[in-house]
Symmetry: C2
Subunit: 192 residues, 2 copies
């Protein structure tokens, strides 16, 4: 805690922005801590002290740029929550898509990155989805123990990734709306 | 046509096997046509004559290794077709998962590979899914114009990819069975 307190939120944001710029331009695998230190006008010692290594630094930078889908979303209906949480991501453009796909790929051969990504990106998203589903169950929109619950985080993640791979098109608001109405809500037993 | 007829199916299979070995070991981006030629004891001229370049050669090799999910599947029920088509892939182990994810990632920055992957891998899968859904509609299992049809190929693809990214675990037969029963079939209006 004490070690981290030496960076102001502004300084941290500058470092994260430098990380994201470098990863977008060169790809996760090709970025070095020295490059980040130079780009953010700091030292590798500072970077290691605060983030332990490249995996945590990069994943924290991606998380800082864009909170997990559904975090802090509460529109009053399950459909509204899903729409708000997913369209925010696609409307920011293809950059987040590229960052997520690139990290997911690098993580296949980098266990530290894989762990950092699951702890810092996937786990908060899964908890946020659980909160949204608990509220929907409390409102009577779904059964609290609907068996499809376990798949919802992966479906939302997939809705942002699979369409581009399969068709060459980035998902847009219309695609996500149809996906939520015709796949996610029916799986949860909600019919439009 | 005439140009291709000079390779026997056995010779083609050997070349494809060499391609898959090299891509698994080094990653798509790092494999050169010269390496493939050496490994498969042929010439780069032969490789270019038959496959035009690395994108088509690699994607054809991956397709040769493993046909698209659902191709040639016809069990007599929609649930049976989905199960047969997807579990065949996970039961072959993590190698196909790695090959698919690696290609999808490389395709993000390689338009020729992106096109080859969609034409040679994704399009046949989409047609196979359509055939399976048409048969299910003819049997009365689903509506012929169920609005979730457009998502089925991407759902099946996602079921093989998203779970690993999110949880660190490869999907197994149990996971896929639950996914089909609790997500894909309900989305199509089929209740267990």
């Amino acid at each position: 805690m004490e070690r981290r307190s030496r960076l102001s939120p502004e300084r941290e944001a500058e470092i994260f922005a430098a990380v994201v710029r470098l990863v977008m331009e060169h790809g996760y695998e090709n970025v070095t801590m020295q490059q980040v230190a130079t780009e953010a006008r700091t030292s590798t010692a500072t970077l290691y002290r605060h983030w332990n290594g490249k995996p945590r630094l990069v994943v924290e930078a991606v998380r800082h740029r864009r909170p997990a889908p559904l975090e802090d979303v509460d529109t009053g209906s399950l459909r509204g929550d899903f729409l708000a949480g997913t369209t925010a991501i696609v409307e920011s453009g293809p950059d987040d898509h590229d960052l997520m796909s690139g990290l997911a790929n690098a993580a296949r051969t980098d266990p530290d990155l894989d762990r950092a990504q699951r702890e810092i990106l996937a786990a908060p998203m899964r908890r946020a989805v659980d909160t949204v589903l608990d509220r929907a169950a409390a409102r009577g929109e779904i059964d609290a123990d609907a068996p499809s619950r376990e798949f919802v985080p992966e479906l939302l993640f997939a809705s942002l990734i699979a369409h581009k791979v399969h068709t060459g098109e980035f998902p847009d608001r219309d695609y996500l709306t149809r996906f939520i109405d015709h796949v996610v809500l029916p799986a949860l037993g909600v019919r439009p």
